[in-house]
């Protein structure tokens, strides 16, 4: 029996410990905001936080994260999270499929670097978006950083 701490809730799961966290979240906890895109850690659609760091959930197993704090897109507060407010203001998403991963990667970036440079964003946001939201992702991260600093709404 594995114990998973997801979005502050403890879950007991009777699953193969090698199950990737991505599939534990989706098929066992029915948290579908974390998406499958490639399964090899390249696209970032499955990005979640493990102890506040951005991690690709297809590359870690459920057993790996036992005892750690997992946060998914469902665990953010969209009405107050600066990144999500900026995403709304800049109308970032198109199809939306990659966006939970983009948002999770961006929230983690701003936790590490509250005022990221373009180079910081380039290095941290390696998620793939086929709709082409990249320009707006960059703008929204800068806006979220500015909003956070001023403590004001984006």
């Amino acid at each position: 029996m594995l114990q998973l701490n997801v979005n502050g809730q403890l879950h007991e799961l009777d699953i193969d410990p090698d199950t990737p966290l991505l599939w534990a979240l989706r098929d066992h906890l029915h948290l579908y905001g974390t998406k499958y895109g490639c399964g090899i850690g390249l696209c970032g659609s499955c990005t979640v936080h493990i102890d506040h760091k951005a991690v690709r959930a297809c590359l870690v197993t459920a057993a790996d994260v036992s005892g750690k704090a997992v946060t998914t897109i469902e665990g953010l507060a969209p009405d107050s999270e600066p990144v999500q407010l900026a995403w709304q203001a800049f109308q970032v998403p198109q199809c939306g499929y990659c966006q939970p991963g983009m948002i999770m990667a961006s929230v983690a970036l701003l936790r590490d670097k509250p005022s990221p440079t373009d180079a910081d964003i380039d290095a941290a946001i390696t998620n793939i978006c086929r709709c082409g939201t990249y320009n707006r992702v960059r703008q929204a991260i800068h806006a979220a950083a500015a909003g956070k600093k001023e403590g004001a709404d984006v």
């Binding site: 579908y32 709304q88 709709c131």
Partner: protein, 724 residues
């Protein structure tokens, strides 16, 4: 604010024969929500009222607008409701959108018309009947209020969901009269607003789907969850056209979670309690295939077939004017180039998926991210062998479409087949590798373009031969005379004033399935033509922008976007060291688009994409922010293909599988996109595709300016040209 029956408005006969059945909006057809009983006085407010098939008005004044096209990121879940709401004069802040049902569409006499979402057609094809649906509903609401007040309807006006009797100042809310209005006969004649009366269209309203999308809430196809549902992973014969010969189900039968192995004609699926269990077992399932004689086909064979097409006798002339043969008899100068564009996969972020339930009573349900819910319905009915009226299609959100999820419903057919054998609801999800290797690819193409110039450097003759597989023929949609009306998009219909022109087409029959890839044949043909024009301009010793302007004397719209983009990009301004520009223009799917790409080229042939400036004329503007987003989107999609896109064939199968060998443009490589909307306002053009075709030739033209060497085959990575 708008007054009713304003005579400057364009009048539309709602049920006239002018546009044939095209204007039959089904206002009299029975609703799926039952309003058969006349409302009892005082209770009207208890229920939402379907004023017509598109519009449901609730007692709290909220308005539900149904959308028959698919939202795949392009913004029509907002744009199409805007068209309805503009004429309805409702409060936009109270508008919600939901998918129209394909099943209802069938039951109600195609009341929602086409559900096909491709060819950038959503706005340009449905704007008239959606605006009319809003106008008709508004008339019914006004007539209801006027009759309750016992005043002439002409004395009433509407705004923000409120009807005002102008002389008395009396008001009624839409929600208060909707139930009674729904019982009225629709008007025979409605008036649509003139563009200068629009208050919603043309404004950058926020998209209705974004609040859910930033919270991770939308249900994509892959997110469907049903009671008792099982998960399927699938592997189809890696060689196109092949069949399943043998598989050893016993080898994986005892694996944890595995429920069943399902054999299909050309594929095998493992059904399990979770998708990961199914996929892991599938990877270990011993399978042998009948490769149908295609197991030795390699890229060299495909190239040879295309090359043979360049000189084949049996080509079909698709467009000809002037005397092309005499133009080439003794030109002052002749320029020729031969081009190649590879197969491309769609690579939607969400791989192909469909969930199906085949019920014991003969009903079939599918939950599917589809670009054409009606096509999904037909595919499910055909596959299950049931009457289409027994099929319910539940549209989900789409994790991208780009042409992959429309005409070809292979994923729907597979899910229904599997669910039928399993007897429980099954969610089929393809792995990324399966998705890359079983696409309907943008056709690999070759083209030979020849230009004749006179002694003044004017283009007098143009010949273009295209050798490529035919999408329409391969989908069984075209006759066998070797022609294909869309194969020469961008070449046969060129807007350049060339006195003598011939374009012809040599259909190639190859075993790789081809399909509609965002902007379809414009994507490669515009690259051929526009990169060639730069080569011709150079031969003529002319600036490529001015060379094009001269050829656009009779094409004012294309000329306007070209001038706009040149001005915005500062075409005549000097560039920084090692920085170069390229320009291109194309008309596709009803809109005109020109782009300038700026690159900085390094000594090692790597380059930075600095910016892409885009001028676009879509005619009328529904939502300018959506236009900007679609420009950014199409440019990203086009650049990705130009830089990296290369599906290659060996042993009859696709060699690429995932984003490691079929790479995508990332944020770090993405240029700044600047969009200038040059709306001429006298037509309705498309938006999802038109900004794509110019970007590849504009980029190639910039690199040509930098290196002096044309880039007559794609992708750029094959030439050692890579973004830094």
């Amino acid at each position: 604010m708008s007054e009713s029956f304003k005579l400057t408005r364009r009048a539309f006969l709602v049920r006239s024969g002018v546009a044939g059945a095209g204007l039959l909006l089904g206002f009299h057809l029975p609703s799926r929500r039952k309003f058969a009983a006349a409302p009892v006085a005082g209770t009207e407010a208890a229920q939402p009222a379907e004023v017509n098939a598109w519009i449901e008005i609730h007692p709290d004044d909220s308005v539900l607008i149904r959308v028959a096209r698919s939202e795949m990121g392009q913004g029509i879940f907002t744009a199409l409701p805007m068209l309805v709401a503009e004429e309805l004069d409702c409060d936009w802040g109270k508008v919600r959108a939901e998918y129209a049902s394909a099943s209802e569409n069938r039951r109600r006499g195609e009341v929602y018309r086409s559900m096909s979402t491709g060819g950038s057609r959503s706005v340009r094809e449905s704007n008239d009947y959606l605006r009319m649906a809003g106008a008709v509903a508004r008339e019914m609401l006004v007539a209801t209020a006027a009759s309750q007040w016992k005043v002439p309807a002409e004395e009433c006006r509407t705004a923000d969901g409120i009807i005002t009797h102008t002389p008395s100042g009396l008001t009624k809310r839409y929600g208060a009269v909707a139930a009674a209005a729904a019982q009225r006969q629709p008007p025979e004649l409605v008036f649509l607003k003139e563009p200068d009366e629009w208050h919603l269209l043309g404004t950058p309203v926020q998209r209705l789907d974004i609040p859910d999308k930033i919270a991770g809430k939308p249900v994509f196809g892959a997110d469907v969850n049903l009671p008792g549902m099982l998960h399927a992973a699938i592997r189809a014969c890696p060689v196109f056209g092949g069949k399943l010969r043998q598989h050893d189900a016993a080898a994986i039968a005892k694996r944890p979670g595995v429920v069943q192995v399902v054999a299909l004609d050309d594929a095998v699926a493992v059904v399990a309690e979770s998708w990961w269990q199914a996929q892991q077992a599938l990877l270990d399932l011993p399978v042998t295939w009948d490769e149908a004689g295609n197991g030795a086909v390699a890229d060299a064979d495909i190239r040879a077939s295309l090359e043979a097409g360049l000189v084949a006798e049996e080509a079909v002339v698709m467009a000809e004017h002037g005397k092309p043969d005499s133009a080439f008899a003794s030109p002052a100068q002749q320029v020729e180039a031969t081009f190649y564009a590879p197969y491309l996969a769609h690579a939607t972020m969400e791989p192909m998926t469909c969930t199906a339930a085949v019920h014991s009573d003969g009903r079939v349900e599918v939950w599917v991210p589809t670009q054409n819910a009606s096509a999904s319905l037909e595919a499910a009915a055909r596959t299950a062998g049931v009457d289409p009226l027994s099929v319910e299609v539940h549209n989900t959100q789409l994790g991208g479409g780009f042409g992959r999820r429309g005409t070809s419903q292979d994923f729907t057919e597979q899910a229904v087949r599997i669910a039928k054998q399993v007897g429980r609801p099954v969610k089929l999800l393809w792995s990324r590798e399966e998705d890359t290797q079983h696409d309907f690819y943008r056709p690999a193409s070759m083209a030979r373009l020849t230009a004749a110039l006179n002694d003044k450097g004017h283009l007098t003759g143009l010949r273009a031969r295209v050798a490529a597989p035919s999408i329409l023929t391969s989908l069984g949609m075209k006759a066998s005379d070797g022609s294909d009306p869309i194969a020469l998009q961008g070449l046969a219909d060129t807007f350049y004033a060339v006195p003598h022109l011939r374009t012809d087409y040599a259909l190639r029959t190859l075993h790789v399935p081809v399909g509609f890839w965002r902007s379809v044949n414009h994507s490669q043909n515009a690259y051929f033509r526009e990169h060639f024009i730069d080569q011709v301009a150079r031969a003529a010793g002319q600036d490529p922008y001015r060379f094009r302007l001269d050829l656009l004397k009779e094409a004012p719209k294309q000329r306007a976007v070209l001038q706009a983009v040149a001005e915005q990009a500062g075409w005549d301004k000097p560039l920084a060291k090692n920085t170069f520009r390229g320009i291109a223009v194309e008309t596709s799917y009803g809109s005109h688009c020109a782009q300038v790409v700026e690159v900085r080229v390094n000594d090692d042939r790597s380059f930075q994409l600095l910016r892409v400036v885009c001028a676009i004329d879509p005619g009328h503007v529904v939502n300018p922010d959506t236009i900007a987003a679609q420009v950014e989107s199409a440019i990203t999609y086009g650049l990705t293909a130009a830089l990296f896109g290369d599906i290659t064939i060996s042993k009859g199968r696709v060699q690429q599988g995932n984003f490691d060998d079929y790479p995508m443009l990332t944020l770090r490589q993405m240029p700044l996109v600047e969009t200038r909307i040059v709306a001429s306002g006298d037509f309705w053009g498309g938006m999802g595709e038109p900004p794509l075709p110019p970007v590849t030739p504009a980029l190639c033209n910039a690199l040509y300016a930098a290196t002096g060497k044309p880039i007559n085959s794609l992708p750029l990575s094959a030439h050692g040209l890579r973004p830094a």
